[in-house]
Amino acid sequence: MASHLRCEDIVVRFGGVVACDKVSIDVEEGKIVGLIGPNGAGKTTLFNVLTRFQDHDVGHVYYRGEIIDRKRPFEIVSMGMARTFQNINLFGEQSALDNILIGAHRLTGSALPNIYSFPGARQRERELARRAGEIAEMLGISDVLDDPVKSLPYGSQKRVEIARALASNPKLILLDEPVAGCNDEETAELRDVVQRINRELGVTILMVEHDMSMVMNCCEYIYVMNFGSNLAQGTPAEVRSNASVISAYLGEEAAA
């Protein structure tokens, strides 16, 4: 299988703190890949490096073999990579539909015809609204499309954020803790959503997640980070039985 998103020997320093120390991961096309590790392991920093929200000091990030170290954050999405945020980062005052439409921003074309709503732009707007409706249906948020997102329950907000990421027609979605703060039922539902996105739309998924039931049941391959470095990698079964992973999570004695 081809590599979809890869990073090599990434180093990120914040002053004296080394948040990422020679981290390498490789996300294969079409898979659901997990990135786990204790708090402060550098997962979110790595996520921000991959999506260009954070500059790295050493190393390279490759998207389908092309180095993207110099891309700006807003250019990432037009390559086919969308993301969500750790703490929900929606446009709170705006409706769920508007949030999804902003997600489709890269498909709207240049500014001028849109400002004056030229016929072509109007046609495209209709098409985007229709597609937003389809995405909303897939995620089960059709009936809240007109509501301001800040008034929605937590689980629905999570779905709107995933819908917004999907609206750009991505080939790869990076989910930063998609089920954090969700109860068991919501977690199961979101797992289903994530698997359907992967299976039905053929979207590669990389997720940072603390919820082990989510990671172990959903991911085909898992990378473990600890103290800013690669600790282990493998299938869920391999990772679960890896001694160093157990010690990182539960302490030395548990592993011994």
Partner: protein, 362 residues
Amino acid sequence: MANEERVPGRNVAAVAALKKRFASQNAVLVILLFVTLLIMPLFPGFKGWMAGQASLVIIYVLAAQGVSILTGYTGLVSVGHGGFLAIGAYAAALLVKYYGVDIVTCIIAGGVAAGFVGMLLGLVFLRLAGPFMAIGTLGFAFFVGAIVNNVEIFQGRTGISLPPNKVLGLQIGDTGFYYVSVVVLGLVTLFIFSLVRSSVGRAFKALRDSEKAAQSCGVNRLFYRTLAFTISAAITGIAGALNGLITQYVSSEVYSDIWYSVDILVATVVGGSATLMGPLVGGAFVAMLPFFLETLADFSFILKGVVLIAVLMFAPAGVCEVVARPFRAYRRRRIEEAASGSTPAARPDVGAGVVLAGKGNP
């Protein structure tokens, strides 16, 4: 079988039809407003001097509309739009004085000149946000004031006196100028209406609500921020051109005054900075206040301050937002009913006030 029909539970066609009807109700009300403005001079009680006063009100509204693009929709508070007003006014004045051009050209030139400076300012202030943006734009207004006070071509406090206004070679009086102002206001309002509902308006609002999330959606921060600055400045520049032309006199005494900047910001905030009708209501309020207070005109500063504080405390989204809320809630209820199919979508109703906030688009 019947079960299958009910499962989606949402009558999409009825909702779409209802939304369309609410939108056309809004449009009818706005068109009525502009028709009223256009036929106003035909009323028997309308006097010549009223046309001049009404034009000044419209100029305030236009200036506030410019501010609303930047402060309301893009979330960048500007305390310096008086600077763009001045640039528009001087651009128009110099063109009339030295080249004797038509006022239509002057108005466009005022917008272009202010828009260009706005673009540069947007680039310079790329990294500013919040209170720092407010201070930066305030500094810009002082900067423009210093320029017009000291650079010779602007003739400082002596000012530039202008000949009577001409449209297409025809000399026009106050009433003629009033018509020009109404037409400009109509065009700018239509432009803003189209802008804030387009992908560009969405990008502005996205940057306002979360720059990070906006960028993750592919919104180019540099481009859209600069664009917001440019459009905002251009609209206020157009207001400035009109202001210079109607008073037929442009001097630094008027345009280096920081109160212009404050007034149009107050107008925008009081009316509702992220609503289509907000600047119209707020601009009219600020422009007409001294007029109503007559001999107590100096008192208007205090009253403006009191109103501003009251609005910020009790209705931070502006007066229009508050007035529109019950109407919007009513329409939402109607849409919900139509969606669940409990009531037929076709039912006569009056949804007047919603238009104040422009179709509920915060």
